[in-house]
Symmetry: C2
Subunit: 433 residues, 2 copies
């Protein structure tokens, strides 16, 4: 056998997590878990493979086929590697509709695959935090979801100068368009579609489209003004709108709990016309070089409609990608230099000491919760120290024949270079303070 050597590169758009990268990933997922669990959110997970029809039913067959990794198994089932979590969680909620205690406060940090061109911030394999509240359709749930996003970013040390939550409401959006344009629901919808595409077309084409739907120059101008209004001004246009009321309640509560400095009303936040039904929001990175929506979410209806007849569960939530979050943390200098344990001890080895003497020391250290190992191998002391430094050990423990006889060990702090001689039976105590 003299086969060609295989490549050591991971598959395009995927990443290897060596211990250094894994420490970072565990650190930031750990902080997210802790923040959400403290807020009484519960974690769930589902399989990596799902029936392709789950995605086809939500997004259409063409998109599902094109954007997912999909294939047919030997039982002739069309499967896809999950490209998003919502269909899975919808299936799960529908599967236990009668046992679950609503409202659900759920989160998950699944990895997923999307078949797409790779570019900065877009990989084929990524992790995505999903946070949702299911079964509560009032503004309190919307608020709690936004609060959870802010708490997560704050837990990393982010402050209001670094990010902004831009908030709108789809019901308000529809109502205010109708109020300004004086149109019925059907016509308003056409107007909304034009407004949704505002940033993708020229100003001229935008105005022409609105004019052809019967809007006057003055009406177009009033719509323009919405983009510069605060929530009080904007909601005053159609005060009776349920969406306007939701927006006001939400911003009042944000003000009262001291989070208004993180949040602004932004009429430009729409997030696709067909999915969201109430509050919508996007969290923007404020850094000039990175200024864009990092993630977003909102309220949607009928989560379980594809699975259960005549049932309705509403939801509100968001999805945050790991790559985007990491970019944000890097941009703002929020990643610490080291995530290692505070103490990590390498027990160095000498030939004149029985090996089990080292084993018993390391056993005691580990039983006391101190990260430690005996050096494996037969290299000289200097090489052992080198191994300790490279491996981010904070201390080396030195016990040669004379120390063993004297019943002591030496502990060298690799950062300060200080060395302490400690009676062997006081070893755990040395690290306790």
């Amino acid at each position: 056998m003299c086969a060609q050597l295989l490549s050591t590169q991971p598959y395009k758009g995927t990443r290897d997590f060596y211990p250094d990268e894994m420490r970072l990933r565990n650190w930031f997922f750990g902080k997210i878990r802790q923040t959400l669990e403290t807020s009484a959110f519960e974690e769930y997970d589902g399989p990596m493979l799902e029936s392709l029809e789950l995605y086809a039913a939500k997004s259409g067959e063409e998109i599902a086929n094109k954007q997912t990794y999909n294939f047919i198994d030997r039982g002739n089932r069309s499967l896809a590697i999950r490209p998003e979590m919502t269909p899975t969680v919808a299936r799960m909620v529908a599967g236990r509709m009668n046992e679950l205690s609503f409202p659900l406060r759920w989160f998950s940090i699944p990895n997923m695959y999307r078949y797409e061109a790779t570019q900065r911030g877009r990989l084929r394999e990524f992790w995505q935090l999903n946070v949702d509240i299911f079964g509560c359709d009032t503004f309190e749930a919307d608020l709690e979801i936004i609060v959870s996003a802010i708490r997560i970013l704050k837990s990393f040390g982010a402050d209001p100068s670094m990010f902004t939550v831009r908030i709108n409401n789809r019901r308000f959006f529809n109502d205010v368009i109708a109020a300004i344009a004086g149109t019925d629901a059907e016509e308003s919808r056409k107007v909304s579609k034009v407004i949704d595409r505002k940033n993708k077309v020229t100003r001229e084409s935008y105005e022409n489209d609105l004019t052809s739907l019967g809007l006057s120059k003055e009406q177009i101008c009033r719509i323009d003004e919405l983009y510069h209004m605060n929530v009080t001004e904007a909601t005053a246009i159609c005060p009776e709108s349920v969406g306007a009321q939701e927006l006001r309640l939400l911003f009042e509560a944000l003000e009262k709990i001291g989070l208004s400095e993180y949040c602004v009303f932004d009429f430009g936040i729409i997030r696709g016309l067909d999915y969201y039904t109430g509050t919508v929001f996007e969290v923007f990175d404020n850094a000039p070089e990175n200024n864009r929506a990092m993630f977003g979410g909102g309220r949607y209806d009928n989560l379980v409609g594809l699975f259960v007849k005549n049932a309705s569960v509403t939801g509100v939530g968001y999805g945050m990608g790991d790559v985007t979050l990491e970019n944000f943390l890097v941009t703002h200098g929020l990643i610490p230099d080291s995530f290692g344990s505070e103490v990590k001890v390498l027990v160095t080895k000498f030939d004149d000491v029985p090996y089990e003497a080292y084993l018993s020391l390391v056993d005691r250290l580990r039983n006391a919760g101190i990260v430690s190992s005996v050096y494996l191998g037969s290299k000289k002391f200097g090489k052992q120290i080198e191994y300790a430094v490279k491996g981010q050990y904070t201390h080396v423990l030195i016990m040669g024949g004379s120390e063993l006889e004297a019943g002591v060990v030496k502990l060298k702090d690799l950062e300060t270079r200080e060395e302490a001689t400690v009676p062997t039976d006081k070893l755990e105590a040395f690290f306790a303070h």
Copy 2:
């Protein structure tokens, strides 16, 4: 649109992890992580998708094709969902051969997919703990790997009555066969193949096969005796064998560090002829109803041979499946009734109190690290209590208009049914003791 309703079942051989199941999974992966990190092992991870040739090169094309979920991407690459972790970690080690500091002490808890008939303990999607030491080829690394497996099971409360580590050595196996059969390496290999299949054929067929390789009745009998020998007796047959020396050193060390009650020599442990090269072991569940190997591992050579020319990295390690471990923990009653947080507070809601008063209470609780949420919805108090009980909250906080006025809250312990009235500004302190 009146499409047929979709099934709520997960794909065959996969599992949904609702919060109850997820708590269990997080609990036992958490304990494993903690145990291994305290022993200075470092976590890594790789992509779910790998080039199919990675598995074909290791196991042959037919097996790789048959046992993996594989498909061709739009760039005409053959991909597989990882069915095991070794090829990935081999690729990763090979990819940074010159930067990594050996010996590596690595672990990972990846999910993987195997295309196989589903049965008890065998699912298509499962998680597998992989623990390995790379780049140390002496018995100390074998010992450390076995110690790590024992420490993990002990961390769950398992004792020597519940499991046994059965240990053999492939070099010793080869040498003792050669010593008894008086054969050369080539002939010994044929004898080994017969012995490896011993439990899969009738006694008659086994004896016939050995006889046809030239072994006498007496030689067959001496091989039989090996299965009943302890390590001292067995290694005395070929004391000069390097494998025999490794076995003796390993068992001596296990004795000296107080782990010999967990370990026995077992000549029956072989684990496939083509892969392992030194120490091999399997961890058995001692429960009569479950008596079988839960997991195993051993020493293997040339981890990076498929990727790097003229380089060799040895490894020793094991893989432990989540389903097997869970069966073991259930069988021995080692899973606690609850893994929830110690305190979880539901702030109940009354109409005569401004909502932000509740929000500020929950904000304070969370800032003090106390798991808590405000009840979301508009149900009556009794229903709120019901929600708290179902959601495994330990306390409800009650603050109606009169409490608000008096500057107090009531805290009801849902287990003891005790109720305490606490000044609002002493709220965090109430939970601190």
